[in-house]
Symmetry: none
Subunit: 135 residues, 4 copies
Amino acid sequence: MAPPPFRVDPADPRPIWRQIEEGLLHAITRGDYAVGTPVPSVRDLAKQLRVNPNTVVKVYQHLGDQGLLEVRRGEGTFVARTPERIPARERTRWLKEAARRLVDEGTSKGVAPRDLLSALERAIKDAEDSEESPS
Amino acid sequence: MAPPPFRVDPADPRPIWRQIEEGLLHAITRGDYAVGTPVPSVRDLAKQLRVNPNTVVKVYQHLGDQGLLEVRRGEGTFVARTPERIPARERTRWLKEAARRLVDEGTSKGVAPRDLLSALERAIKDAEDSEESPS
Amino acid sequence: MAPPPFRVDPADPRPIWRQIEEGLLHAITRGDYAVGTPVPSVRDLAKQLRVNPNTVVKVYQHLGDQGLLEVRRGEGTFVARTPERIPARERTRWLKEAARRLVDEGTSKGVAPRDLLSALERAIKDAEDSEESPS
Amino acid sequence: MAPPPFRVDPADPRPIWRQIEEGLLHAITRGDYAVGTPVPSVRDLAKQLRVNPNTVVKVYQHLGDQGLLEVRRGEGTFVARTPERIPARERTRWLKEAARRLVDEGTSKGVAPRDLLSALERAIKDAEDSEESPS
DNA sequence: GTGGTCTAGACCACT
DNA sequence: GTGGTCTAGACCACA
């Protein structure tokens, strides 16, 4: 029952189960959980993150449906495969969309474009740092 | 009933009323609607954007609450003042949060940081262009 | 709030949400719900089938993930497309598997093969009949 | 430690213990294990089938409860009697139910009724063949 | 009105 | 121990 390599943030606008899902994907991508390796049990993870077990169940099933996790009855839940790189086309679309939205929201908040860029650079740097020294 | 200088996109994950609100703010900031000038009537705007009138009502009320729009019964809805710049502190917090989220989601989708940056640069450029020649 | 064209059967070993899902697919395939048409609201269907709304929610989301239903926030849930015929290969595999299982379970219960066949013929006939005169 | 005359299939939706139980019943009915004859030890069978020994224990206990197997401590587990034919009434009910379910699931998967029949015929033929020459 | 999320708690099946 | 299902009920966001 090692501490999970991510947390949920109540202030984050994303629903909790999404945060957990992306946290897991993130962790798998990073190599915290290798293929064939078990992810924390539903109850453990729920306890750690202080959320309801059903919320974790939802995530595991959702990822199971996508073939990323393999659920073995009575045994546990395992990493089935590494998140397949999203098809380039779709990734590009997401990128474009997300960037547009950021600029759009920023503009209506009076945030200058160059501030967006520097904030993004900063966030990238932070992410890289936390990756090198996980805890 | 001039065409509104923005559109709503069902594919955009933001709720429709948010899109409209930000579109309006954007437009006011840009000068499409000057202070004292009327914004489109609820019905017209709803018709133009093909959304439920109640949704537009919600936006106008929300902006009215913030003192940005002024509703004059029987006359219409007018721009009361230009959107005040959000306090620096809050703006900074939003920026940080938004950037972090972007990186986070991107990572779980296998998007490289540098792609995020270039996509953002591109989006900023696009926004600036459409500002100069607002269609 | 027309009566749903299917029911859930507590004696059926399949979980309720599966029964509902297959009932819906069945209904869509049969043309009871056309593409673009709304399916019953979560609450209505739950009430009709006397199940918990969450159970219906689960089904709608699951089918939504598969792109068969389109969920429009605040509006309702609509048929997005007709269930795509499962790829022939997969269908064949399912068929083979299901038939093998039936024979296997039958044998261990002392059911003769020819009884299996006649029971199946009978069930097919029943299904066809109920299709012609739905209620 | 002769190879067991059946296997378990993780892809089979039936729980593993059920598969084993039915495999055993099947084998006894077929005469692979005669009355008074020992069935494989829990450990051997578990090893052969690559399942958890507890799972085999469960099966043996379940069959023991029904009086089909007799556990002689220190000696092993023996076939106590041949599976009694299920009462006709219950068998009929099972048949009807199973057939209905097959048709139901098939329909929602776009499988034509006549394909069901031919698949069943094929499965029956396969079963008979494997009975004659049990590998 | 619509669907979405979350919690709490019960019960089940499987290993 | 593991995950799966279902209920009940609350609260939220959206149109």
